[in-house]
Symmetry: C2
Subunit: 354 residues, 2 copies
């Protein structure tokens, strides 16, 4: 049993892996991989995945839930195209790689981007505060959690038309969907296997784009009208996401997960702050509960520390290739016992080096 | 053991299902679903899937192989965007639902579409012949196999810049990739699970688009530069496609599959033509070897015939909802024994009704 702190595609509960594995061999007499997406058995899977998403996140009436493809990267374009209105101008908060990507893609489809706040001045190590969204924009876009830097919005900005890339912290805590026009998220953190992308969109924003360019696949209204089945959906990813949502619901939902995630993050940050060999890399008040970034105070100890955590069956701990250091991702399915193992390795390392 | 004649997402060899199922539980100590796409173990999977595609199809030097998302529907847009040149005009052959979709999406991105041939006059029941591509177009687009009507190009049209949606017959027979600028195909017929889309693109066409609109995800040059890893790829679909390609290569490759597919199609068409209770629905010379469409000569026998094939453990035989009748899809992984079972049901039905 390995302790997988990888940033994703990511761990899911072992029970979900087991059920998904079984369905590859037998799903009502066929492999889940060979079932037509138009067959009633799969239509029921898609319906259940949508229904569970609504229940687990408390999605209010008047919102549609879609499972599409292309990840958040295609989502950068899809959101800009679908949210474009008379201003053809949007406010973006730049908190790192992913928001920078969203800004770039919005520009490519003809949105004038107002970068109303940015933490680029300190290498994205904090979340900008006191954000006020101007009136003359079509929407405000932000990224709720920066997987790479390890920062997270703990209070969401306010705007009349709020759009959020929630890829790396959706389903990790309670949110108020009614505050948003559009939420999108690559599945491969707390939802399911890579290959599916979730969209939660307020119905009243559908079909109101002013974009001249709107491929059918990227038109959320057309996708919603077809119940995410405009073309063949990513069958196995949706099926496994459904299993995971069912498991999540059976274990107390996001309310319970939020408690566990808070406890896991507190345990690890406490060690980082009290252990002289380590230090956090971002502003304390903006620390992510999903991706805990830290580094050695003495980089020359790297080889030795790496050997230690590897021999404790820990995997996925190196930081993103663009920032270095360490990153412990604490997604829903990571047990607190795995965090305890890591903390023990850090404590022991300090004892040996003292 | 069911005989799955469904049109897709589709059957793969049982050995592939078994290996894919196992990898969901254990792929080098983790589930394949929780492995980072940047980990060397998955990078090796992607490399092998690309390499096997090249070997199996005899892809010459100077072509890139990509695994993206969005299916052929997003591919309609991606191909038009990437193939757009100075004319901003392209020739399309309309052989049914999928080519019509490709035509619609090309128009949406500003391509002037010349429909140089169409079989719409007889409900797409044949393949237009004697096609000559005009000089003043950027490319010629066609759909090699119409999954719905059951027609197939047995001789490909010629053009300086040839683009083909080969979703439903790629890997079923030998092709000469060098004739094409761009081939694309949803994986979920002969390649792998739904959620991956294959692109085989001549390198010299990359980066030459004249489109003003080019989202990064849809830019084949950028995708090729990043080896299909511009963002998180559909990990499990690519992994299973790799397993399937390996299995295909180990069993004689497309040359051997072509023989088997020819034999399966011949067996079923022979029964359709000799059994007085059935008739084919498309021009004989254009019949698809992947999707065999037929109907009862007396529609009042439907209920009884349906009961018979269902009791023989046959599934997926109803025709597409837009055309009715029957459709027996004979993809690579369907054994000839399954065709024999269907033929026997048809023969027995004729004996009883005689």
């Amino acid at each position: 049993m390995k302790h997988n702190f990888g940033a994703g595609p990511c761990i899911l509960p072992q029970a979900v892996f087991k059920q998904a594995s079984e369905a590859v061999l037998d799903f009502n007499g066929l492999s889940i991989l060979e079932v037509s997406h138009r067959h009633k058995d799969f239509v029921a899977v898609m319906d259940e995945a949508i229904d569970l998403t609504k229940k687990v996140l408390g999605v209010p009436d008047g919102y549609s839930v879609l499972f599409l493809q292309g990840g958040a990267t295609l989502g950068f374009t899809i959101t800009a195209l679908n949210m474009m209105r008379e201003h053809k101008r949007a406010a973006y908060i730049n908190t790192g790689t992913w928001s920078s990507g969203a800004i770039r893609e919005a520009g490519k489809v003809g949105i004038e981007v107002l970068e109303i706040a940015s933490s680029q001045d300190r290498n994205f190590s904090y979340i900008p505060k006191g954000i006020v969204c101007p009136d003359d924009v079509d929407y405000l876009h932000f990224t709720s959690n920066n997987t790479i830097a390890g920062t997270q919005f703990h209070d969401f900005p306010k705007a009349k038309h709020l759009v959020c890339d929630m890829s790396s912290d959706i389903f990790s805590k309670e949110i108020n969907v009614a505050d948003f026009d559009l939420i999108y998220a690559g599945a491969q953190k707390n939802l399911g296997p890579a290959g599916a992308t979730l969209y939660i969109v307020k119905d009243e924003v559908l079909g109101k784009s002013t974009s001249q360019f709107m491929p059918t696949y990227m038109d959320l209204k057309k996708q919603a009208d077809k119940g995410s089945m405009l073309n063949t959906p990513p069958v196995f990813s949706v099926y496994t996401a459904m299993l995971n949502l069912k498991d999540l619901q059976a274990h107390g939902g996001v309310k319970e997960k939020q408690k566990q995630n808070d406890a896991k993050a507190a345990l690890l940050y406490q060690e980082i702050d009290s252990n002289p060999l380590f230090e956090g890399t971002v502003a304390k008040e903006d620390r992510s509960k999903m991706n805990v970034t830290f580094k050695l105070t003495d980089e020359s100890l790297k080889e030795e520390f790496d050997k230690n955590w590897k021999s404790a069956d820990i995997v996925g701990l190196p930081g993103h290739r663009s920032v270095g250091g360490y990153r412990a991702s604490l997604y829903n399915a990571l047990e607190i016992d795995s965090v305890r193992v890591l903390v023990e390795v850090m404590k022991e390392f300090a004892r040996v080096k003292a």
